[in-house]
């Protein structure tokens, strides 16, 4: 294979601004999806640990549904199928009415998918707390809501920070699938540069570096959060 290297291409316009805007869209998709995932995942995760069977069943159904379908299939379902099964008006809104429908479809899809994973982490975190704590809190006269609000949730979140980091990183990496429905994020832009200039190796190497930068930043952020929120004598980080 005779390849002609040309790193300078990445500094030329429009390629430089393509990479920059692609990076911006990647971060936008990932961060918004993560906000959805974290809020939805927390609610579903808590539901799966409640004593009442109905919320438990709903939570389980949600997790099984969103965890067991490949992400790419989910993306196509959200993009191609959901607007068609909705009433005509609502479908058209999803397809045309929204500004940037592809972007929001990707955000929602990624958020719901990652939400199922976050829910499992939250459930695992709550279940990891010895049942004595829950019983003690109830015995002190706290209501169930208070037990969750003041005892179970704050402690379980501290326990699950390390596994949550993986999901936070995953949301950035999975955001690259958005290109299949036409979101011009980082990977899509790298491909476009390859198609215009055939300098694919340079474009994808740059994308790799940018993905690494953002994932290292996430790791640092999560590590900092873990350190700052730890309760002495409770979390495994203390042992280090």
């Amino acid at each position: 294979m005779n390849y002609r290297w040309d790193w300078g291409i990445l500094l030329k316009d429009p390629y430089f601004s393509w990479i920059a805007s692609g990076f911006g869209w990647t971060c936008a998709v990932a961060i918004l999806a993560w906000i959805i995932a974290l809020s939805l995942g927390s609610v579903i995760g808590v539901m799966r640990t409640l004593p009442h069977p109905v919320p438990r069943a709903i939570g389980t159904a949600y997790v099984e549904l969103f965890r067991n379908i490949p992400l790419l299939v989910q993306l196509f379902l959200w993009y191609f199928v959901v607007p068609e099964v909705l009433p005509r008006e609502a479908g058209m809104f999803l397809k045309r009415g929204l500004p940037m429908p592809e972007f929001w479809t990707a955000v929602v899809c990624l958020g719901f998918y990652t939400g199922a994973r976050v829910a499992e982490q939250v459930r695992a975190g709550i279940n990891a707390i010895r049942s004595g704590q829950r019983q003690a809190a109830l015995a002190m006269g706290l209501t169930l809501t208070q037990v969750y609000r003041y005892v179970l949730v704050p402690v379980s979140y501290r326990i699950i920070i390390p596994p949550l980091t993986s999901d936070f990183l995953g949301v950035f990496k999975n955001s690259s699938l958005a290109l299949t429905i036409g979101v011009a994020e980082l990977t899509a832009r790298s491909r476009q540069i390859e198609e215009y200039t055939f300098q694919g190796i340079e474009a994808f190497a740059t994308a790799t570096v940018l993905y690494s930068v953002v994932t290292f930043a996430v790791m640092a952020l999560m590590h900092m959060t873990e350190k700052r929120t730890r309760i002495p004598g409770l979390i495994s980080l203390e042992a280090k």
Binding site: E84, K95, R96, P101, T180, E195
Partner: protein, 293 residues
Amino acid sequence: MIRTFRTALAAAAIVLAGALPALAQESPTLKKIKASGEISIGHREASVPFAFMDQAGKPQGYSVDLCLKIVDEVKKELNLPNLKVKFVAINAQTRIPLIANGTIDLECGSTTSNLTRAKQVDFLPVTFITGSKLLVKKGSGIKSLADMNGKRASVSSGTTNEKAFLAEVEKRKIKVETVMVKDHPQAMLNLESGRVDAYASDDVLLYGMISTAKDPGQWEVVGEFFSYDPYSLMIPRNDSEYRLLATRTISDLMRSGEMASIYNKWFNPGPTKINMPLSSDLKKAFEIQALPH
């Protein structure tokens, strides 16, 4: 002992190399084909009627027929009547890298010959002439690109149409939201679901899409050409011997008139009823490129 073995091996290699036809030595592609007993052809899957799948899932079409003619010539040249043909499915994004890295030896699809691409691959003589137009739903009110202001359009990423469309939109200072798609079927899905108002591609491919659509009467191709796209088959770069062989095959087809009959088989009216008789431009192009021996 080892030394004598090595000497013998070297001697055997020299003798063998001498025995091979001179041509196969000079052309890296032909050498590779000879060594593996197999030629890899890259084909598009939904570029009707250039390269698309038949009911049994086998690639067929105008470009595929031309490629098979070149394969026949390679068989003759290398004296390999049982040369195996391996079909590799490609798309707009993979076609050039796969030729450049040697995965496929010949590309038969619907590829516009241009100078940027020629930095990575070689193009054979022009075998079809088309240009970019818009596919829209009948009654959409869109008659040309000028009517696209404020509308949404799909373009296939990695195509010359994408470039031409974006450049034209910029030149006319109109606002068009573009949605990138991977291939023609995805573009059709976007059109059918009403997600976009138009799809910009080569007019012949648009007619091909209409001919295979669920409801052909519903669609129309509109506007003036906003780019000019001569199609060629692609081969690896820096391989003059192989290029000569392939060019000769195509030239011979053009001179003998066989090219026109292959054309008629696929386009006039063609198995998909595309119904595009040989244009005078293309007829002239065939005549000019039928180089004498």
